[in-house]
Amino acid sequence: MTDIPASTSVSAAAPSRSYGQMIVRRFMSHRMAVAGAVLVVLLCSSALFAQFVAPHDPTTIDTAKRFLPPLASWTYPLGTDDLGRDTLSRLLYGGQVSLMVGIVAMLTTMLTGTLVGLAAGYYGGIVDNLLMRFVDTLLCFPQVFLLLVVAAFVPPTILSISLIIGLTSWMEVSRIVRAQVSTLKEMDFVQASRGFGASNWRIMLVELLPNIAAPVLVAATLKVATAVLMESYISFLGYGVQPPMASWGNMLTNAQGYFDTVPFLAILPGILITFTVMGFNFLGDGLRDAVDARLKIDP
């Protein structure tokens, strides 16, 4: 009723919507990003409810029912593998493992990367120098090589694999955070906070961290994608999730042996990995465009 049009407000450029609403609106107008979000929600919920959705136990062996073709029966909708295990159930449980590794690895990456970036950007000087040279050094190693060498030493569990992936991929995150923090720390609100006697920890966690939430969130989304991909790499090479537990990567390794006769066993896990990685990538790209400060004025 007393609706004031945006153009009559004090500044013509002032948005009539909140920052949050603007981001949501911009995100929703990004078709691929919405598709990515839908894909991610679908895959996550199917993994989350695998116990209820899966028609069979993923590790039950039934040699009388080996290599059943897909779409041939209602009891085994996607057929069975070389040991007569239900492919659909294994894909669902495998998704649980892959996404779990992806998310735990992402959390490790973000925690390490943010801490290192915060410390380097905030303290500057010698701390910055040492930490960033360390980052430079780690970036010289091809990630798959580093990952495999460490994975070969450590007994593979979901947790250890996640940690290894997380600890070998935080370097870019720390660079992003450092760049943001080193410009932010010179700004008035940080100086003011310091003037009021706030401790370094308080400034870093209460003043700086919320202000870099957007790029960190974008990086986090993209990191889930890389972590899922990395898990599939090391599981495929035999150093990741160990059979009989299913992961999309080790299902592919297994399928490789029967590749020329039953290709669908190799096609399905690959499609799911691709969809998951693509979903998170599109989601992250869309988020980046939606929160990018340089694009604040709507096109």
């Binding site: 430079d136 010289c140 599939s232």
Partner: protein
């Protein structure tokens, strides 16, 4: 002018020395992360007794304090043996260098193709921004980045080797055809395709944004307003400036290139360094693993060094020093 570049190159080399030392410390640290140290593999061998292990430990200097061990190892690195393999006792560097040509053929072909195709796609996407081509290229690049490389490789084998039978499914030469370039080419197609796909995706994305940056510059508008043709503006004015930042991408992409080569070589039984790494991993050949880690990291350091110096040579705007 060239004196400037020369002194820049000199200082850039000096600055990469700490990086090399850092790389060696991390590499050495990882080897000693192994539970039981680098000799853990022997404890699994029933024919080797505990006293044998102690003897080997002393012989290899593994009973020494860690900094002494590091210096011994660093000396082995500098004198060019890079340690000796567990099985066969050959110098590690010799084993790695043996595999170098196969990997270089694969990586070189893929990188060259990716640079050509990626730059072309990125350039076209930038000129025809928001066109159907641009949209398809951007989405396609995203899709390519989401494929697990090994899965794409398996699918390529299934289609081109198993179903169509056009190309061999692995290896570098047929038996008895060693050195035949035509045979090499046939074997090279599939692994190159897989490796190129990954690189071209990143390359085209960077090329697109680099060309977009450049064609929005004032001097491009000036050139256009002089009445020059699009082609003349593009190749006479924009191309060089848009490509310069991509030289740096070459250095940045080297680790990805090695990781991709490892996967491609494993799937296609390509007898290169990636394959050597996976074999060494399965045999727990730590000296080879460490050698490989060091080799790839040093390669990346040197690659970035060369990329930076190349940029300084071709771009007079770069601030030297």
């Amino acid at each position: 002018m060239s004196g400037d570049v020369l002194s820049y190159a000199f200082w850039r080399i000096i600055h990469s020395i700490p990086l090399v030392i850092g790389v060696s410390i991390i590499g050495f640290g990882i080897m000693h992360l192994a539970p039981g140290g680098p000799l853990a593999v022997y404890t699994l061998n029933p024919t080797i007794t505990v006293t044998d292990i102690e003897r080997i430990k002393v012989a290899l200097g593994l009973d020494q304090p860690i900094h002494v061990q590091y210096l011994t190892w660093a000396k082995a690195m500098l004198t060019g043996t890079w340690g000796f393999t567990f099985f066969g006792g050959r110098p590690v560097l010799e084993v790695i260098v043996e595999r170098l040509p196969a990997t270089m053929v694969l990586m070189g072909t893929s990188m060259a193709l990716a640079m050509l195709i990626g730059t072309a796609i990125g350039m076209l996407g930038a000129i025809r921004r928001h066109s159907i081509f641009d949209y398809l290229a951007t989405t396609g690049a995203m899709l390519a980045l989401s494929f697990p490389t090994f899965w794409f490789g398996l699918m390529a084998i299934w289609i081109f080797a198993i179903q169509l039978g056009w190309l061999p499914s692995g290896g570098m030469y047929e038996l008895g055809e060693e050195g035949n370039p035509w045979d090499l080419l046939r074997h090279l197609v599939l692994p190159t395709m897989v490796l190129t796909l990954v690189l071209v995706a990143t390359w085209s994305r960077y090329a697109r944004s680099s060309f977009l940056d450049v064609i929005q510059q004032d001097y491009i508008r000036t050139a256009r307003s002089k009445g020059l043709s699009t082609r003349a503006v593009l190749f006479g004015h924009a191309f060089r400036n848009a490509v310069i930042p991509l030289v740096a991408l070459f250095g940045v992409q080297l680790p990805t290139l090695f990781s991709g080569a490892l996967v491609a070589e494993t799937i296609f039984s390509w007898p290169g360094m990636g394959r050597l790494f996976v074999d060494a991993l399965n045999m727990k050949e730590y000296p080879i693993l460490m050698g490989m880690i060091m080799f790839t990291a040093l390669f990346v350091v040197v690659g970035n060094l060369i990329a930076d110096i190349a940029i300084a040579l071709i771009d007079p705007r770069v601030k030297l020093g």
